[in-house]
Structures are given as structure tokens and as C-alpha cells.
Symmetry: C2
Subunit: 335 residues, 2 copies
């Protein structure tokens, strides 16, 4: 409630001096500084962010836009991000859009009108047109996370999918699996493509063929995976292991196997690129990659703050964060 005016009156100086003292934007003598700080304490003064925003044209707020805040991934991201940013005095607006680009752009618009200092966006989609639209909608420092948008002019943080694919494939190979089913996600999504490519590459390095009938696509919804599994497991030579790209697939796969009366890992091994937290305690525990979401958040925050801080002397940066493989009980060794 106390305004800068009150402080000035108490300290018996002008509001200019108060502002200069607090922000250190102009030289103020030691003596006056002391008087000002005392007055600030007495008045219990905190600068009004709104007035400051109006004057400065930018707020100490960053906006987070994700497809669905209710997914563990996004929720975790939001938490870590908020932590990283509140430490440096920023707070967060957020919005989720259920993968609807129209809503996404409305949200961008909304955040822009609120003069956010920056945005973190987990894009709903991808592609040239989208990248372009994004570029003209966004006029504030922004970093993209999770999915990659080709040719976007923004910094981005994403998983090291190639490494992830290597980890998964090598692990399965080490256990003796050769007939590995791979559920490919939505076509054109970078993470899906990269993971699949990494898989093929690792198989090739090992000198093993990839059976076409074991590769299913597009499989990005639960029902797809449910159906795909039925087909896969009724093949003459069914796979000994199934690799899932995301949680929807994983859940569909598990449900599908259960539906067929098949046990994991006794009848077939399952491995996933995308784990989820509270899976421990359940049988089977799914062997899966663990994303270091905290690192992703911190990296994203770093990139964002650097841009906000005015470093513009370099092009878009792409940071890849390494996943790790968490071995649980869903894969068995076969001779």
C-alpha cells in the first residue's frame, strides 16, 4: 500500500532519489541511501509491479504454454521452471491448450498483451508453416521445449533422442532381443522421428535387420497401440520386445497385452522412451528412459534469461539434455 511517495516523504527526499537508490540507476550519496533504505523499511514499501510494468513496458513475468498441464511431464516442467525463475524474481503465467494450435496462438497473444518478459512454449505442432506463424506471433524472448520446430528462430531445449534410442536398443540387444517391435508416433514429430532413426541406426551398427512388420505407425494414441499390439503378437514370429515412444503408447500396449492374457516380461518385454513417476510398486515396473526434466527446466530458464538480459549476438541455440535408462522389471533376458 505504501507508495514511493510515502517513502520519499519519510526520508525527506524526492521520489527520484528513492527510485535511484532502489534501482541503483543513478548515483546517490551514501547518507541519502541510508535514509532512503530506512524509510523503505519503515513504510514497508515494495514497488508496485503493475506501475513498474506500465512504465517499463515489460513485466517480470514469464509465460508457460504447454499442450496439457495435467500430464506429469508438463506439471513437472512447470514446477521446476517456476522454481528456477522465482529465484530470480520472475513469476509465471501458464496456459494449456489441449494441442489446439488456435488456442495456443490465442494464449501467445494473451501473454504478449500482458507484456511477459519471455515465454516457454512446448509447441502443439511442427512444420514450416507453424514455425513461420510462431515467428510472427512471438515478439519476446522465447524458448521452445520438448518438441522441435524446424527452422524456428527460437532457442530450444529437448531430449537427446539419439542417445535415448541407443540406450534402449543396446539394452535390449544386451538382453538378447533381436525381434524388436517399434511403435512409431505421429509422423513428422521430431522426437518420434529421431527416436526411430536412432533405433534403426543402433540396429544397423549391431549388424541386425529391422523387420518391417514389427514397425507400426502411426501409433500415437492409446487405442492405436492397443490395436497394434494385438496384430504384433499374433504374427507368425512375434516380437520378443516392444519399444514404446510415449506414455499413451505404453498404456495402450500394457492394456492390449493384458487383454490378450500376455504377461510382461514373461511373454514379451516392454520398454519405453517415456517413463512416469509413480510406477514403482506396480508390477511390472517399466524399464524406461528417465528425462531429467529439472535439467531441461534449468537450461530453458538459462537460455531465456540470457535472451531477456539482452544477449542477442548469436543465433538460435539448441540444447539437448541426456536421458538415462532406468531399469525395472519389464524386460527379461533371453538366450
Amino acid at each position: 500500500m505504501a507508495t514511493i511517495k510515502d517513502v520519499a516523504r519519510i526520508a525527506n527526499v524526492s521520489i527520484t532519489t528513492v527510485s535511484a537508490t532502489i534501482n541503483g540507476t543513478a548515483p546517490v550519496s551514501k547518507a541519502l541511501q541510508q535514509r532512503v533504505w530506512d524509510a523503505v523499511k519503515i513504510a514497508g514499501y515494495h514497488a508496485d509491479p503493475i506501475a513498474r510494468n506500465l512504465r517499463m513496458g515489460v513485466s517480470k513475468t514469464i509465460g508457460l504454454i504447454v499442450p496439457d498441464i495435467a500430464t506429469p511431464w508438463a506439471a513437472h516442467l512447470a514446477k521446476a521452471m517456476q522454481r528456477a525463475l522465482s529465484d530470480v524474481g520472475y513469476n509465471m503465467l501458464f496456459a494449456s491448450n489441449d494441442d489446439d494450435p488456435e488456442r495456443e496462438f490465442r494464449e501467445i497473444e494473451l501473454f504478449s498483451s500482458h507484456r511477459v518478459a519471455g515465454m516457454v512454449i512446448a509447441p502443439t505442432t511442427h512444420g514450416e508453416a507453424y514455425a513461420e506463424r510462431l515467428a510472427e506471433a512471438v515478439h519476446t524472448p522465447t524458448v521452445l521445449v520438448d518438441r522441435i520446430v524446424e527452422n524456428a528462430r527460437f532457442d530450444a531445449v529437448t531430449d537427446d533422442n539419439q542417445l535415448g534410442a541407443q540406450l534402449i536398443t543396446r539394452y535390449l540387444l544386451k538382453l538378447g532381443h533381436k525381434e524388436i517391435a517399434f511403435l512409431v508416433g505421429r509422423p513428422g514429430i521430431s522426437s518420434s522421428d529421431e527416436r526411430y532413426a536412432g533405433f534403426r541406426e543402433t540396429m544397423a551398427v549391431a549388424g541386425l535387420p529391422v523387420r518391417d512388420d514389427l514397425v507400426r505407425r502411426p501409433v500415437f494414441r492409446r487405442e492405436h497401440a492397443f490395436a497394434a499390439v494385438q496384430q504384433l503378437m499374433t504374427l507368425p514370429t512375434p516380437p520378443t520386445a516392444i519399444a514404446c515412444i510415449n506414455i499413451a503408447q505404453l498404456l495402450g500396449t500394457m492394456a492390449g497385452l493384458q487383454n490378450m492374457g500376455l504377461k510382461v516380461p514373461d511373454d514379451v518385454s516392454v520398454i519405453s522412451f517415456d517413463g512416469f513417476h509413480p510406477a514403482e510398486g506396480w508390477q511390472p515396473g517399466i524399464t524406461a528412459l528417465t528425462q531429467d526434466i529439472t535439467s531441461i527446466s534449468i537450461k530453458a530458464a538459462e537460455l531465456l534469461l540470457a535472451r531477456i538480459g539482452g544477449e542477442v549476438d548469436y543465433g538460435p541455440r539448441l540444447v539437448r539434455v541426456a536421458p538415462s535408462l532406468t531399469v525395472r522389471t519389464s524386460c527379461r533376458s533371453i538366450q
Copy 2:
């Protein structure tokens, strides 16, 4: 980028008239209204929220404060809430505090300084002192969700825990369970108390005793449950069913049982007051109450908007939302 000034210039009227037209706060002739709206369209004008906030002393933002945004419950709440509020033009700031009251109050402070129109708070703790501190920290319409703070002067939305306890207990009784272990949570937490009370009551109504050695408390962390389960299952007469109050307990319980080599539901049935989403497809599927988080959010938004709209002619309201029991496979029938 276009300001009200631009609109005024284009429409050849004063900014007063533009404002009056847009907000309908003063009579403006039909003809001028038309000119103004045309100009608005031409200029692509949207009132600057920041300037409006400054002038009006309140922003079209509501703040959400939860202990941990990364929990499915909070994430789901955030999503549903955001949906309900963005429909009426509000956007959301959020913060999570890891159950640390100090951080919680700092967040309240922060949101207040940003002049949020209202807040939704899932309190970190409870009790008289807390209620009082809350009352003097919060000067804006606020609704409490999840946990109840006794004597708080705020509207609140919470589960119908008594009903939930009835549903759970009756279901177990119907399956033939009489020796039911109950893990009580943190003492003094209303939800925990209410659930436990409801359990005892339902047992009493059924004419069944509650064995003291089957009631464990306080059990609110995973490790507690893990340990409690070991003790329970080594009793001379172990329980045939275990009721968990929250997810931490549930996970600890499942891990503890697994650790002892006990199968659910063959060796013991498990039921929980608190389910979590993606548990389907896993064995066993935990029979649990399902909270209607969407209803909770909508209710909370309703109460909040009513207060913001200026209805102050009634005392604090408490709304209870009914849970439902989702039967999965973690409980077996015993003769």
C-alpha cells in the same frame, strides 16, 4: 500496439468517448459508437491490461497456490481451473511451495502485490494460528480447496470425505472383509480425520469393532507406509484389507507388500481414498475413490467469481464434492 489515443484519433472523438463506448460506462450516441467500433477494428486495438490494472487497482488475473504443482491432483486442478477461468477472461498465475508455509505466504504476498483479483489456495497446513495468519495476509477474494482450514473466513471446496469413507468401507464389508487396516494421515489434517471418522462410523453402523492394532498413525510419507505394512502383515492376525488415505501411503504400501513378497489382492486387498490416473493397464489396478476434480474446479471458480463480483452478503461457504468409487482389481472377495 495501438493505444486508445489512436482509436480516438481515427474515430475523431475523444479518448473518453472511446473508453465509454468500449466499457459501456457512460451513454454514447449510436452514431459515435459505430465510429468508435470501426476505429477499434481498423486499429486492431486491445486495451492494455497493464494500464487498466494500474488505473483500476485490480487485474484480471487469479493466482493458484498449491503445495506441489507436479502432483497429478494439483496439475489436474490447475488445468480445469484455468479452463474455467479463461472462459470468463481471467488468466492464471501459479506457484507451488512444497508444503512450506513460509514460501506459501511469500507467494500470497507476491500475488497480492500483483493485484490478483482472487486466489485459489490449497493450504499447506491447518489450525487456528494458520487460519489467522491467512486471514491477515489475504485481502482479496479467495477460495480454499482440498484441505480444510478450521475457522478460516474463506469459501472452501473439498471432498465429501464422509461419503468417501462410507463408499470404501461398505465396499470392503460387502466383499466380506472385517479385519481392515486403516492408515491414518498427518494428525489434524481435516481430510485425514474425516476419512478416519467416516470409517469408524460405518464400521459402527455395521456393528463391527475396529481393531486398534490395525490402525496406524501417523502415516503420511511413503516410508511410513512401507514400515507400517511390514508390521501389519506380521501380526498374529493380519488384516485382510488395507485402506490408504493418500497416494504416498498407497505407493509405500504397494512397495512394502512387494518387498515382503505378498501379492495384491491374493494375500491382501488394498483400497485407496486417492487414485491416480494412469494406473490402468497395471496389475493390480487399485480400487480407489475418484475425485471429480473438474467439478471441484468449477465450483471453486464459481465461488471465487461470485465474490469477485461483489457478493459479500453471506459468510464463508463450504462446498463438498462427492467422490465415486472406481472398482479395479486390488480387492478380492473373501468368505
